[in-house]
């Protein structure tokens, strides 16, 4: 029982990170129907920016988080502007290949700049190094930090999407791009804004992963990226609460499988869940079936 609770707590921390990444995937997919393979590398770059801020610039954690989010925002918008916008009317597979190209470029660019070796995040002392026990369960302050940051960011995101003009525009564009355009919504700006928000969340996830797991490397985005995408599909791609739900579920499953002896198979289990969900309910848990019109 204790172990189960402990695994749940670990799962929530991992799930928060998947959820933050999955949100970027799901929003971009919802708005331009593109699996943005470069997204997981934005997350990797966020982790590196956090690393530079904390080690070289001697900043605290919160400023590092904010700076990483800001730079990732700019990066996301730039990627969209340079690589995806010229292909707005091209086939989807062409855009997908471009996304893979951008992903390779970011990974190998980072290998060239920062060398392929693993970097170790500095241990943060003070309050964050502490942990407290409830019964026999240990809760780490880092885990509290991750959960708190994720919840704050998600509330912020919900506020932006549901209560602001640009959020309304985002929802309109993802529902029907052409109709939105006819209603006078600037589609290009809206898409840029979507990339900006998604990348900011990925940047935050990058720094949090660095703090939580301590080690980062240029290819760290690949597997979490795929799993976050699985999470987005699980919850119903294009649906924001779905991505959160999927992220927490995948994180939980992964820690459970790893915790109960199947650590070699934890990735396989995640993908098996993906395939199961796709076959049983392709639109995801929260997705609605849309009838195809001829």
């Amino acid at each position: 029982m204790d172990q189960l609770l402990q695994q749940i707590i670990n799962g929530i921390s991992l799930g928060s990170i998947y959820a933050l990444i999955a949100l970027g995937y799901t929003m971009v997919y919802g708005i331009i129907k593109l699996i943005n393979f470069a997204h997981c590398d934005v997350y990797m770059i966020g982790a590196y920016i956090g690393f530079v801020c904390i080690t070289s610039l001697k900043l605290g954690l919160i400023p590092a988080l904010l700076i990483a989010m800001a730079i990732c925002t700019i990066l996301g918008v730039l990627i969209e502007r340079i690589a995806y916008r010229p292909l707005r009317n091209a086939t989807r597979i062409a855009v997908l290949i471009t996304a893979i190209g951008v992903s390779l470029l970011l990974e190998n660019g980072m290998i060239l700049i920062a060398s392929p070796q693993v970097r170790v995040y500095p241990q943060i002392d003070g309050l964050l190094a502490k942990s407290f026990d409830i019964g026999r369960i240990t809760i780490n302050m880092k885990q509290v930090l991750i959960l708190a940051t994720t919840i704050i960011l998600m509330i912020l995101l919900q506020f932006i999407v549901k209560r602001t003009r640009i959020g309304k525009a985002m929802r309109a564009v993802s529902l029907d791009t052409e109709a939105a355009q006819l209603m006078g919504i600037n589609v290009d700006t809206t898409i840029s804004f979507t990339f900006a928000i998604g990348s900011a969340l990925a940047g935050a996830a990058g720094v949090l992963v660095g703090v939580y797991y301590n080690s980062i490397n240029p290819l760290m985005g690949l597997l979490p990226g795929l799993k976050a995408f699985v999470a987005a599909v699980f919850g119903g791609i294009g649906i924001i609460p779905g991505a959160m739900l999927g992220g927490y579920f995948i994180g939980m499953v992964e820690t459970m499988v790893a915790g109960y002896g199947g650590s070699m198979f934890r990735d396989a289990v995640v993908f098996a869940i993906l395939i199961f969900i796709l076959i049983v309910k392709p639109t995801g848990l929260l997705g609605k079936n849309v009838r195809e019109k001829v």
Partner: protein, 344 residues
């Protein structure tokens, strides 16, 4: 006799024999050295992979990101068989078994997943190939886990040449058959082809099974030439590389796949010289090509002699279009200057 000489197949055969002789001469005079021979073999394997993926993605329109998974099944099957029977016959048996096992896997994977469309299918196939890879890593007793298997080298490039020709010949003939036409109709419009009575699921699964059959052969050849296989060779990146070849050559163009397999292999072996920025240049090239030529090199056309003439005409047209566009731009600017309110 004259008829035979004029037949299209005969011309093709002559071209193939000539190609073979030229490469053979280059190899025996050592102009193509061992290193370049490895590139040559990579080209052949990539052609088999790209052509078989093109059948699935380019012609049938089913977006697969898991081709490397089937390749790995073929590679392991062949390596395990040749380890038991280390003769040429063992190798031939291995290739056959590899193809059959891979196609069975393709059938089993395809049957449930091909009900999905577009990106969902892509993700499902990606998941499948990752699962296959993880299973290979964990089957320590048989596959030696992450360290991989060692076999002997059984093939030289002649074998690869023969298998490549067979693959391209088979797939191009398949596409000209009723079944092939049915596959193409699914790409064009799935709902419409279902409405005229084509059993879309059957043909999608058929294309997928044939595609994985040849992916299995490619894997077997890979294992028999490069004699080291480990699960990490057949990861997500490998699938992406195959897809890149197909898209770069043009979805729905077999000759496009052949040409782009050759071009990309030459480009990457040329980039070896700049090894630290190799992948950066490669990815930049990929982005630039996709932005400026999203349909790939050949689009959905096939390479032919008549096309060379078309190209000349096409380039001429492009020049004209460019010139007229420039003129239009200047006039448009003038309009803007004259009447800023209306243009707003």
């Amino acid at each position: 006799m004259k008829k035979i000489l004029k037949a299209k197949g005969f011309k093709m055969l002559t071209a193939l024999v000539l190609t073979y002789i030229i490469i053979q001469v280059l190899v025996s005079t050592n102009i193509i050295n061992d290193y370049m021979q490895a590139t040559l073999v990579t080209i052949f394997i990539n052609i088999i992979l790209a052509v078989s993926l093109n059948l699935i993605t380019g012609y049938t329109g089913q977006f697969s990101l898991g081709h490397a998974g089937f390749m790995s099944i073929g590679a392991y099957t062949c390596a395990l068989i040749t380890a038991r029977i280390p003769t040429t016959w063992g190798f031939i048996l291995g290739v056959l078994a590899a193809a059959i096992v891979a196609s069975i896997a393709g059938y089993l994977v395809g049957l449930p997943t091909l009900r999905l469309r577009g990106d969902y299918l892509a993700i499902a196939t990606l998941g499948m190939s990752e699962i296959i890879r993880i299973i290979f890593i964990n089957m320590d007793d048989i596959t030696n886990g992450a360290a991989g298997l060692l076999t002997k080298r059984f093939v030289n490039w002649t074998w690869l040449f023969i298998f490549t020709v067979i693959t391209v010949y088979f797939i191009s003939n398949f596409l000209k058959s009723t079944h092939g036409r049915a596959c193409i109709s699914i790409r064009e419009d799935e709902t419409a082809s279902e409405a005229v009575g084509i059993n879309t699921t059957k043909y999608k699964v058929m294309a997928f099974t044939i595609g994985s059959f040849f992916a299995g052969i490619a894997g077997a050849l890979y294992a028999s030439y490069f004699y080291v296989i480990k699960p990490d060779i057949f990861n997500f990146n490998k699938s992406v590389n195959i897809l890149v070849i197909v898209v770069f050559g043009g979805l729905g163009s077999l000759s496009g796949s052949v040409v782009s397999a050759i071009v990309l292999a030459l480009v990457s072996s040329f980039l070896q010289a700049f090894s630290d920025v190799q992948m950066i240049l490669y990815s930049l090239l990929l982005i630039i090509i996709m932005i400026f030529k999203p349909g790939g090199l050949l689009g959905s056309r096939e390479l032919s002699i008549a096309m060379l003439g078309d190209w000349r005409a096409f380039i001429g047209e492009k020049f004209k279009a460019l010139r007229s566009r420039k003129e239009k731009k200047t006039t448009a600017k003038e309009d803007l200057d004259n009447d800023p309110v209306e243009n707003k």
